[in-house]
């Protein structure tokens, strides 16, 4: 009996991680990256990348918000009045953002203080609204959920990469503020001289530019295509 239903389910629906769905998850990490290829969400990529730990927390926040608002909007997509769809998207995104903010305030107060303004600004993160508008409104919940996670991961990967370089050269540390905190230069017996620009958003702009250059050169991507 149970095997029968199992076979039936398999026949009717696409497997959860079909090739198409895997593509939704993996593409945004590299070849369709929201930051380096679509050039969305630059503002927070410049602002919260001074240190690695806040960048990781921010990424987790965006992954959560992007995935679940994609899921919810996709579930509601046949009921949403087209004329107020942007407002509905905003309400849903704000709901999840506020939840992230409250949870951080309760369980990670230091990070909450450090990120408070930027957590609120997830609401206006172009990646999230962009995915809701471009994907979730026209696709089923599960692919939308994967698309949300994929784009969140793509965003996070760039954020952490930029933050890693900035923390290393701006403060001379890795993972500052955790048990893994490591003073890189001191531990190698070198005197650390901070590169001031790395501690400022301008430093992020440069690193991000280099990153986009490197990635596009490798993938052979150009705007004209």
């Amino acid at each position: 009996m149970s095997t029968e239903t199992l076979i039936k389910v398999k026949k009717e629906s696409e497997p959860l991680f079909s090739k198409k769905n895997r593509k939704l998850l993996i593409d945004p990490i590299d070849s369709d990256n929201p930051i380096t290829v679509q050039v969305l969400g630059i503002c927070s990529a410049l602002a919260v990348t001074v240190q690695t730990v806040p960048a990781i927390v921010m990424s987790v926040g965006v992954i959560f918000v992007c995935a679940f608002s994609n899921l919810l909007i996709s579930m509601l997509r046949n009921t949403i009045p087209p004329r107020i769809r942007i407002i509905v998207q905003l309400v849903v995104v704000s709901l999840f953002v506020q939840m992230v903010s409250e949870v951080l305030k309760a369980y990670s107060y230091d990070v909450y203080l450090q990120l408070s303004v930027f957590i609120g600004l997830i609401i206006t993160n172009c990646i999230i609204m962009g995915r809701l508008e471009a994907f979730a409104l026209a696709n089923k919940p599960w692919p939308s959920f994967l698309d949300g996670i994929g784009n969140g991961l793509g965003y996070g990967a760039i954020l952490v990469a930029v933050a890693f370089v900035r923390e290393l050269f701006g403060m001379g540390t890795m993972m500052k503020g955790t048990l893994l905190e490591w003073h890189v230069f001191e531990s190698m017996g070198l005197k650390f001289q901070s590169i001031g620009i790395m501690a400022m958003p301008a430093g992020a702009c440069i690193i991000l530019g280099l990153l986009i250059w490197a990635q596009r050169a490798r993938n052979g991507y150009s705007e004209a295509n």
Partner: protein, 238 residues
């Protein structure tokens, strides 16, 4: 059907109510933990004005051992029947000075627990963009600053926000004097421009380049609270 006004209105109302209920319950569940965090953060700020606080510092234990909380009025008398945790400094600021409830933390000496070593009080003011606040620790003589800890809501990162983020700013206030010799509130004054040092002027503090308007807010705040606590500190020296 989805474009009918009635549908849109009902849809909006339901969406908002459901969201509000969800958020309300999340807040309700987490509020105790959030309040604990805020209380701990306040204790941390108070201790920061008199000592170095890092991750290993047991804030709650030190606070319980050394700090006694009071609420006073602008005449320097104890405000009867008021608990310190009910006083909101930013709200009190809207009242005239002589009606305000003024929190005061007395910090005992480690060696001699009968002796009060420092007095710490909170302040609240307006920066360039939003509210700023601080804790000021005064030494036993009633006018010399032991340390300060600033906080802000939305000052510009890298400029005004340095009052909190830059570890070099707060030490500039150490050993400056909040009052003149006869306890007139001269207040300490952060100058415009940066790179000065005033070893011989106990009332001037090196400024923050590019953040003069935030510094003005800080100056006004310190002056205002120097006036509010004037009678209390004056009475210490009688």
């Amino acid at each position: 059907m989805r474009n009918k006004s009635s549908y849109i209105i009902i849809y909006t109302v339901i969406l908002c109510v459901v969201s509000a209920v969800i958020l309300g319950s999340v807040k309700q569940v987490l509020s105790q933990k959030q309040d604990d965090n805020i209380a701990l953060d306040n204790k941390k700020k108070i201790l920061q004005t008199i000592m170095t606080v890092d991750e290993t510092t047991d804030i709650n234990t030190i606070y319980a051992a050394r700090v006694t909380e009071f609420v006073i009025d602008s005449k320097g008398q104890t405000f009867e029947g008021v608990k310190l945790k009910d006083v909101r400094v930013s709200k009190e600021r809207k009242l005239p000075v002589d009606e305000r409830k003024l929190p005061l933390y007395m910090i005992k000496s480690i060696k001699d627990s009968a002796k009060i070593e420092f007095y710490v009080f909170p302040t609240s003011g307006s920066g360039l963009w939003d509210a700023i606040s601080s804790y000021i620790a005064i030494k036993g003589d009633g006018k010399t600053i032991k340390g300060v800890a600033f906080d802000h809501v939305g000052e510009t990162p890298g400029l005004g926000a340095r009052i909190k983020s830059d570890p070099l700013i707060a030490p500039r206030y150490a050993d400056k004097e909040l009052y003149s010799d006869d306890f007139e509130p001269t207040a300490v004054y952060m100058v415009k421009g940066e790179g000065y040092s005033f070893p011989n002027d106990p009332h001037k503090v090196d400024g923050m380049s590019g953040a003069t308007l935030t510094a003005n807010g800080v100056n006004a705040m310190l002056k205002e609270y120097a006036v509010a606590y004037q009678n209390f500190f004056k009475s210490l020296n009688k």
